[in-house]
């Protein structure tokens, strides 16, 4: 009787676990990512049903895909927060929830030294902190200097027990894009 109870509980647990993870993956493939707005304490289902048409999953890596999107959108959109939010909706994230937050000069996640040389900055990254992805969009008066600082001081292993696989920077006008990412969010 006791063994049957244990078996039943364990079977239900496995079913729950596989059901949650399996169903979640199936559902998320068809959705854009949710966004969390800075200052809110809850996840906001922000424009979840809208398909921008620019969020097709690319065969390029995550970093290149996002850099391409940045290059296209930054020509007309100079608002860092909405840029970061739009990048966070890219289907390359495969359902991972992305949050945005304003950042200031100083100690930024992902770097071994303080980062200075920008007037405004927005970070976009998974809400689950140990997923090895972090992205920034900066506004700056000296794009070359900032790019150099970012590239010299980044650390792909900033997350300790996970490691990003690639780093990419991109510049459009006075905006700088920086990302460290795994090659894919498939798993």
């Amino acid at each position: 009787m006791k063994k049957r109870k244990i078996f039943t509980i364990s079977l239900l647990s496995f079913m729950l676990m596989f059901g949650l993870t399996g169903c979640g993956q199936a559902n998320n493939k068809g959705e854009n990512n949710n966004q969390v707005n800075n200052g809110n304490s809850e996840v906001v289902d922000n424009e979840n049903k809208e398909d921008t048409g620019k969020t097709e999953v690319s065969t390029d890596g995550v970093a290149t895909t996002l850099a391409t999107q940045f290059k296209e959108e930054a020509k007309s959109n100079k608002d860092l927060t909405s840029l970061a939010e739009s990048l966070g909706k890219n289907k390359t994230f495969n359902g991972v929830v992305i949050a945005t937050m304003d950042v200031e000069e100083g100690e930024l996640a992902g770097f071994d030294k303080e980062i200075k040389g920008f007037t405004k900055g927005v970070q976009f990254s998974p809400m689950i902190g140990t997923i090895p992805f972090i992205g920034f969009v900066f506004e700056t008066n000296d794009t070359n200097a900032l790019v150099k600082t970012l590239e010299e001081n980044h650390n792909l292993r900033w997350n300790i027990c996970t490691e990003a696989e690639e780093m990419k920077t991109e510049v459009v006008d006075n905006l700088v894009f920086f990302v460290m990412a795994p090659k894919s969010f498939a798993n």
Binding site: L20, N38, V44, E114, M127, E163, N187
Partner: protein, 320 residues
Amino acid sequence: MQNKKSVMAFSALQILIFHLWIFSANASEIEIFLKQIAYLGVDIFFFLSAYSLASRSVDNYKEFIYSRFKSVYLKFILFALIAFIHNKWTLTKLIKVILSIELFEKGGGTFLWFLPAIMCFYLLFPLFQKFDNKNRKLTLTVVSISWLIISCIITRYTGYKSMFIFWNRIPIFLIGYYMYSYKDKLNIKNKMILSIGLIIIGLYIAYKFGYKLKLQYPFVDMFYIMVIPLSIGLTLLVDFIPSNNKLISWVGNSTLELYAIQMIFGYDLCNIILIKTKNIMMTNVITLLSVLVISIIIHYIYQWIYKKIENFLKYKRELN
């Protein structure tokens, strides 16, 4: 270590929080700090492993390795097989993970890196203990200096960084090993004073060197060394918590499963709950509780199956 299970449960929870805790948008600096330094749960595990090993004398190398393989690496292989299916790994990746090749290629980025790393420590431990029994001071000096020189050479002359996540845990491993010798020398009062002192100093050092900007000088991932005082302080303090409590005992016994389940399913589970609930605190609570419960259940099922197989094999041997 009077209450090892309490320390193990505490460390396992720290690691769980480090991996899966989500900050609210208005998270305080304290919440962020405590979560970001929760990686030192790993340091405490290295400390505990060494402390436990110091209490035994390895007379038979094969038997020792076999017992370690059964209690640690066998489970690691089983979980690697589960991850192989769930995460759709290639066969090459599975083989690399099981043979610990990925540990040296990717360091902390490899699957359940702690398990192959501690297995490497187990493989070398009998040799270390042999020399330590012959001449403790000389052994400690040679090991320490070698470690320091190799760290500096690799940092200075190569771009290789992956191994430092476990290489830089050698000091705390050694401290754990040698602290066993002093286990009877600390009375309760002194232990409390020492633990609080180490925690206070350790918190400051961890904040300066192991938090936002992690110290990378004079060698890669130097910050692991800087959090040693806090790790030891917490170990000594948590050791006061009695582990005869059932819940602590369950969690303390299931730390390996807890680690595996959070790494295989934790991220997906957390993400799904976050999307469904749209509430960060609820997500944190449900995720942590779910992973804990599932891990404990899996642990005891595994124990039950393992015992059945062992008894069956024993019966077969007796028949023959």
